[in-house]
Amino acid sequence: MAARIEVAELVKEFRIPQRREGVRGALQNLFYRKYQTVRAVDSISFEIPAGDMVGYIGPNGAGKSTTIKMLTGILMPTSGRVISNGFRPFEERSRYTKTIGVVFGQRTQLWWDIAVIESFRLLKKIYDVSDADYEARMKQFDEVLELKRYLNTPVRKLSLGERMRCDVAASLIHNPPLLFLDEPTIGLDIVAKDHIRAFLKQVNQQYGTTILLTTHDLADIEELCRRLMVIDRGKLLFDGPLEELKRRLWRETSVKFDFRDREQAQKLAAMSIPHVSVERCSELTCRLTFPREAVSTAEVIRRVVNSVEVLDISIEEQSIEEVVKQIYTGQVLQEAR
């Protein structure tokens, strides 16, 4: 499959003016400024094939938004190459933007003062969408996103969840083959999040729309994305399936055992299994923790149930939040690339 997005050694540097403090500093600022060059995106390369759904994550200030802005043609790259939908986004922006949809979770694309439906009509005009296509799409948007209820409300009077549904719909009015979403679920309640996710899934399946989304909500990733890219301090730290990330970082597994009576719990607490540390959580529960490479979960469970009488077993997966926190806080992935 042809790559929808190709990025090679992409770099973006910003010049930040250094302000001096105090009155004297302010006077000095008047005449000459010192600048500091900050590399927001530091030589990243990747390819995204058509039809993929990719999650792009990283802590605040990691360079996610800057990357998206270069991919959408808003910012001019300092160096490196981007080819997306066959266009160079910045140089060929006016033709390129017809082939993409963009949602910024924190800012609406719609006109603030006019009713949602008016914004849609204006966008229909701007993107040259035919009446038939427009009607069909509006119908589909309404089915999943339940737009009808607030189509006649001005955007400024919508709740965040309502506004986001409208924004996502608006970004797809011209049925673009490529969709960028920058934190589409930020600040939304669970119902709204579900709506948006279901809608994105449907669009991806039905039209083969390629989707790149940044998020802080890892449930978005688990539900939507087959592939994950992790960026921090401008560098791409990981690029691959979610499972692989888990496999690499998932050092430990915990299994919790519940018992009917105290003796059984005590018996387990006293047991010694190689590589496994046992912790008595309460009267009737124990937690066993062990490194994944040393011993398998099945092995541990087998040994336990062979020697004590167990009521219930639950395997505690390390949440993806924790996995990602490991990346953000440390060195973990340095060797990964």
Binding site: T72, T97, E118, K125, Y127, E183
Partner: protein, 263 residues
Amino acid sequence: MRRHVSLFWHYFLQYAKIRLEHRWDFFISVLTMTLATVFGLAVVYLIFGRTQAVAGWSFGELLFLYGFSLLPMSVFNVVSVNLYQFSDNYLIQGKFDRVLLRPVHSLFQILFEQLRLEALGDAVLGLAILSVAMPFLPRPLSGAAWLVLALGVVCGAMIYTAVFVVLTSVSFWVEDRVGIMPPVYNFIQFGRYPLDIYNGFIRVLLSWIIPFGFATFYPAAAALRFEQYVRYLWLLPVVTATSWFIALSTWNRGIRAYGSTGN
């Protein structure tokens, strides 16, 4: 081109809807517009009431120049609102991202996303002054002169817009608010009177550097005294095109420097 005309119409309809929704606001603007026109006429009467002739221009001609100068300026004032607010509204708030993401030229969106129709009140005032001036002209205007005036309004509005697009573009590079727009705006007023009353420096400035002279004085003068000013008339399209060439290239360079706010 046709697409842009139709788009302009749609932008205009949106604007009209917003304005009509706040109907008291709308009525009050119409009222203030009318009052401003009446006061404007009174001021003109005070200025020109005792004037006979200045630098060889008769009373009727002076009044005519003054009246005409209001027409291109008023058209310019209709579309220029967003240029003054550009730095605050679009760059600092980050709304410019949205503009760049749409397949319509960014400047088109900035100019037409918000209008100020009240500014057309000045055009009404201008036309009123022109009709008052008409009987005092040394010779009646020919049909060609009317064409010259129409061309002058279009080119004049375009020249003003081009100059202010260049000034607006500065905010792509300079984050701080730059106060060069108001003084330049005041320069427009110089074009209300015959250019020959000013000294050489201002004449050169208004003809060749900030070409406001071409926006008002030269076309109006050519309508009145064709033989004397016809050479400036030929230059009018050239000056207009050049201003727009400079404006567009500055604007496009500015977009390359556009940093956009972080999240």
